[in-house]
Each structure stands twice: as C-alpha cells, then as structure tokens.
Symmetry: C2
C-alpha cells in the first residue's frame, strides 16, 4: 500500500506537543485545562493561532459561512482532498486534547510531508469545525452537520446560545463569518484522530483504537406522578410510589444493558424526587435514561423493552409516567475498508490495536454521510474527558499521529 520510504516517515512528536501546549495557553484555566467556548474571544484567539500555523505551512485556508476552517495542500492533481480534522472549541472546563489533538495532528502531518518534500497524488486538507461541543449553542457538531448539509446554514446562524447571542452575530464579531459555501470542498475521505474519552484502551493496554462507528444515542426523560403518603401508616398494597418507580426504571436500564451485552450501555445519571424526605412516599420523580448501541435494531429493541417495562409499572404501581425524548441519533458505521486500513497500518507500525465503537459524538460521524470515513483513538488516562484532568501521554499522541500520517498518505497516494 505504501512505499518503504514512506513507511519510515514519522512525525515530530516534540513539535506536536509544543503546538498542543501553545493552543492550550489560549483560554487556559486552573489545573491545566481549557475554556474555549465556541465563538468566544478565546475561540477566536485559538482559531487565529491555528490558521497562522496553516498559512505558515502553505495551506490555502478558506472559511465557510458557518465558520468551519479548511486548509488545503495541493496534490499532483486537482479534486477532492483527503481530509483530517476535528474541532478546537471546548466545554467550560475542558481538557487540552479533546478535538485539539485531531486538528494539530493534521497540521503536524502537513509539516512532516513538507519537511520530507513529499507530494501526494490527491490534495490533503486539515479542517476544524465550528461548535462541536454544543456547550454554548445547540446542537453539538453544528459545523460538521452544516458542512454535510444536515442543517441549513441560515438556520444554524440563527441559533441562540445560552448567553442569548446568536451564532451569526458571534461569528461576525470574531471575524469568522466566512464567505465559502458550506460543504466545499467535497471530500475524498475523512480520518479523524481523537482521544478515546473512555477507559477501554488504557485498561487493556492497547495503544490504537480503530473506531468502527459511533453509538446511536437514545435519551429519554421520564416524569413520574405518585401519591405522597406517610411511610409508616401506608401499607405497601396502598402505595403509588414515584420514587420506587424511578428506582425500578433505573434497575431495568441496568438489566437491559447486562442482558443485551456487547456494546450496549444504559445509564440513569439523574434522579430527582419530591418531596425527597425520609418518611414520605415520593409523589414526583424525574429521571433520565441514556441508552446507546452501535446497532440501530438493538437500540430499538432496548427502547421497546424499556417502554414495555414502563407500561407495566404504570399498571402495577398506579403511577403516571410521561416520557420525553431528549435526544435520538442513529448509530453511524464507519467505512469498513477504511477501518481495516487504520487497523492494518497501526499493526504495521508495531502498535497494539483494538476495534471499538465511539461512545461519544464526533465530527467524523457527520462526514461519514458524504465520504468514506474512519477515526483513530488513542488512550485517555482514566477515561477522563471534559475535565481539566484529561490526559494522553506524548508517546500515544505520537503513535496516533503517525497512524494518521500513513493512513492519509495511503489514501492520497
């Protein structure tokens, strides 16, 4: 697939680390983390820094109407580039790797090729997409969603954030309301390097994750109505206990995950009872159920089973239960050939590899709608992310970027 010469080519890990550290200075917060909310002054400063690096490396930088930035390195012939990239916005108490790694690894790949004087058949591109985190504006992955035509650009520009300001106004204010049409250039293939944000690679001592796809997500909020009564004087047979119903749903969620097995996960992260007193049966409960699977049919089976359970609970306990879908995304399967390629190149470089799904959303899942797409994961220490303690070792950053380099070279010819 690749020539011997190219196989020996490696990126400069120290240079990559320096860029990660420099970008992390922009919006830095205590503990080594970063607060660079989408389209904030900090985001502008971060964008300016990365665009500067892109231009220094000779990339042709364009900014589209939703503020996505694409830097293109010409190939021997014209046509759609092989693209990498991610995002540089963060959550309010974010780490320095989430998103940033994927963008700066792309910059490092370009610099490595420039230094080695290597020209590719197809163009290469490095992109960063607007508002991936969704911490200021909903939905998350907005820029990549608009890029692939999943959301109209005018609709996106009109979205008002948590601080009452619109995407369009904020883009104009920071100077990133570009003129390029969204979705340009077309993309030949997309590969995103990202920290895992989960514990699997570290726990298994594996260096490279070949990401097969992104889990589908089903978030449901249940509002349960019961009858408040005295915990001592009300016999069990006469209870309508919203607190018990909430607990029963949480236990059923765990049973579903355990019995379905595989990549099935289910989480009840939030339960609120009223009046929330030791000796009063709860008359109100609010809880959320987060169910995810890489397979849409299995995800639907999990949803069906929970709906049946809730219906039985209404019948048996006498509670009222209303449900509201907070989020629902189908699973995304990445391109099998491209996943194979990531795995093969990682093995060829001497790394341990494991296929796994992504439990979190990524820009790559949007790009997967329009071109062959895959992702490369590197280990997150403790599985920690969206936290100032997010950390991936320099060795693993370097390993992931070298896999990215050779996957891109292979795709670009």
């Amino acid at each position: 697939m690749t020539t011997p010469v190219r196989r020996e080519l490696t990126i400069d890990g120290g240079r990559l680390d320096q860029r990660i550290a420099a970008l992390a200075e922009v919006g830095s917060i205590d503990g080594g983390g970063v607060c660079r909310l989408a389209l904030s002054p900090e985001d502008k400063a971060g964008r300016d820094l990365v665009v500067g690096w892109m231009r220094e490396l000779g990339l042709a930088v364009s900014v589209d109407r939703i503020g996505n930035v694409v830097g293109v390195r010409p190939g021997r012939r014209d046509g759609p580039p092989v693209m990498t990239g991610s995002h540089i916005d963060t959550v309010r108490t974010g780490g320095r790797y989430d998103g940033n790694l994927g963008v700066l690894a792309g910059v490092e790949v370009i610099e490595t090729l420039n230094t080695a004087g290597i020209e590719t058949e197809h163009p290469l591109a490095v992109a960063f997409f607007t508002n991936e985190e969704g911490a200021r504006f909903a939905p998350d992955m907005m820029g990549s969603l608009v890029y692939v035509g999943g959301m109209g650009v005018d609709e996106a520009l009109g979205v008002v954030g948590i601080d009452g300001r619109s995407v369009g106004d904020c883009l104009a204010e920071i100077g990133y309301a570009g003129e390029a049409g969204c979705g340009a250039p077309a993309v030949k293939a997309f590969v995103e390097l990202h920290v895992e944000q989960g514990p699997v690679l570290e726990a298994e001592g594996v260096v490279i994750g070949a990401v097969e796809g992104v889990q589908g997500i089903s978030w449901t909020e249940y509002t349960i109505g019961g009858v408040s009564n005295h915990a001592g004087t009300t016999p069990m047979r006469m209870r309508t206990d919203a607190g018990y119903a909430a607990a029963a749903i949480a236990c059923e969620a765990r049973r579903i995950a355990t019995e379905f097995g595989g990549d099935q996960v289910a989480t009840v992260g939030a339960i609120t009872l009223k009046p929330n007193l030791v000796n009063v049966i709860a008359n109100h409960a609010l809880l959320t159920v987060d169910v995810r699977n890489t397979d849409e049919a299995t995800l639907q089976a999990a949803e069906k089973r929970m709906a049946d359970f809730v219906a039985a609970l209404v019948r048996d306990e006498g509670v009222t239960i209303t449900s509201r879908t907070l989020a629902r995304f189908e699973p995304v399967a990445f391109d099998p050939d491209l996943v194979d390629k990531v795995e093969a190149i990682a093995w060829a470089q001497g790394h341990s590899v494991r296929r796994l799904p992504s439990g979190a959303g990524h820009d790559a899942q949007m790009l997967a709608r329009v071109c062959p797409t895959a992702m490369i994961f590197v280990p997150s220490v403790g599985g920690i992310s969206h936290n100032v303690r997010e950390y991936t070792s320099p060795e693993h950053l370097q390993a992931g970027t070298n896999v990215l380099l050779h996957v891109m070279l292979d795709l670009a010819g």
Copy 2:
C-alpha cells in the same frame, strides 16, 4: 362490664366539634390547617384555652417541669387515674385533628360524665404532653418520654430547637415551666384516641381501629461513592455507578417489604445523585431507607437482609457505601386485654372495627412503658396527615370519642 345505664351514655358530638374548631383558630393557617409549634406563642395560647376548659369542668390541673399538663377528676377513691390524652402541638403545616382530637375528646368525656352526674371508682385524667411532633425540638414525643422516665428532665430542658432556643427557656417564656415532678401522677391505664393518619380504615370502610401497637422504626441513610464517567464511552463492566447502587437499594427495600408481607413497610423517600446529569455516571448518591415492622425480630431480619444486600453491592459494583442510623425504635405492643376491650366496646356500640398497627409514633407508646395502654383510631380521609387537608368526619370523631368514653368508664369502674 358496664351497667346498662352507662352503655347508653353518649358524648355530645356538636360540643366536641366546637372545641376542635375553637382550638384550630389558635395558630390557624390557610386551608383550614394549624401551625402551633411546640412552646411557641401559639402553643401557649392553645394550652391556655384547653387549661381553661379543664378548669371549667372542675379538673385539678397540674403542670410538670417539662410542661406536660394533666387535669384530674377525682374518683370515689384515691389512687392512680385512668388517663387519656395526646398533644396539641402541631407541625408547621399541620391539621386540626392530629393530637388535638385525643385531648379534646378527653375533655368531652369529662363533660359528658359531669353532665350525667356519673362518678367513677378510680380517678380520671386528661393530659397533653409537650412537643410530641418534634418539629421544633428533638426528639419527638419528648414530654411523654420524660413523663415515663425515658429521658431526664434536665436533659430535655437543655435541648436546643431549630431556632436556637432551648426547651427550658421557651417553657419559662410561655409560663408552662411547671413545678410538678415528671411522672406524677402514676397512671392506672392509658387510652389515646387519634386519627389514623393512614388510609387503611377509610379504604376498608371501617370506623374504629383497635391499635395493637406501634411499629418499630429503622431509618438508615446510605452515602454511596462511585466514579463519574461518560455514559457513552464507559462499558458496563468498567462502571462504578453510585446512581445504580442507590436504585438497587430502593428496589431491594421494596422486595423486602413484599416478601416479608404482613405489616412490613419499607420506603426510600429520598435519593440525591451527583452530578445528576443525563450522560454522566453518578459518583455520589445519598438515600434513606425507612423500614418498619410491629415485630422486633422481623424488623431485625429486614435490617440484616438490607445490610447483606449492601455488602454484595459494594463487592459487585465496586462502590463505597457508608451507612448511618438516623432513627431506631423498637416496636411497642399495647396491652392485649386493653386492645380486646377497645375492640369489644366498639363492636358493642355497633361500629365496624379492625385491629391494626400504628405506623406513626404516639405518646401512648411512651405510656405503654409504665401502664396498660391502648389506642383508638378513627379514619383519616385519604390517609392525609401533617397537612392542612387532614380531615376526619364528625360522625367518626363522635364514634371514636364514644368508644373512648366507655373504655375509660370500664377501666375506672
């Protein structure tokens, strides 16, 4: 047991209702309820009103050092009186029947006997005990506890309430720091009329409850430590989920109650998770378990089973769980002969009767330590209590007071 003449004797339901309404004016709140916290100015005004009625009826009123008030009607001979009574303090948003009924029914019994010119062999007494509710000062049932020697009077006087003031200071301020020794007079027998505060009598269409005892209470607070992680990226096998552990304990509490059956009740009324977010595994949970049974051995068996379950959860889920006993009272069994008497007299008066335990605490459970004791329950509409909507129909108030009258006559000879 009783002479034909006496059996036809009935109380004056209208007069009872008037006294209940008059006392409910003192500290009245919106919705027909009452706020008369122990030793507050409203409590003083309520006490003055009841003491006035006692004196009008010729009772010899004494106030002991903890503020318990006892009005005695002489018998043909001296000796310990047959006592009835309850409390007139309320919770912050209380009803007009809880406690008050038992005191005013006693006053009504006395007036009925006075009017009919009936003298008893043994003296009769009507008492109201200080701070039954515990809404301002802990513990609840303080006055009756001190009366029977379960707590030292000086210790009780030193208790500081939720507003930073001591029982002793407040008693002096309202003029109810009496001089009588606590526990005087000794009591021949004690019978307390009370609203059920539960739904059983109403649901079964029964008018009189012959209370066999008071459930033992076991309150435990569990603090659970887990590990916060991403709900999408953390496989089920790698979770340490404090939220699931809390839900599992709540479901086990329900299973214990269902499997033990009988009078066993178990309630998880309070669950608090942190960070309480839809997509984050909880790293902290606080929950309470309220377990009650009329049988101490069964209550201990329930506690043992929960402790075993918690230990298994620590082992299997990896969470840390610490427990704290918030309250623990052994069950109280009332005097079997006196319970029989309540039941027999209620039947003789043509009422439907049912034996049942009390799920709530009452002064009678303290008196049971020193003399034969029983309670009479009348239905609470909807089982509602500690609420301005607390209600018992005039017919049921009258029925209960007539049972009380004849039980006291029977005991006093």
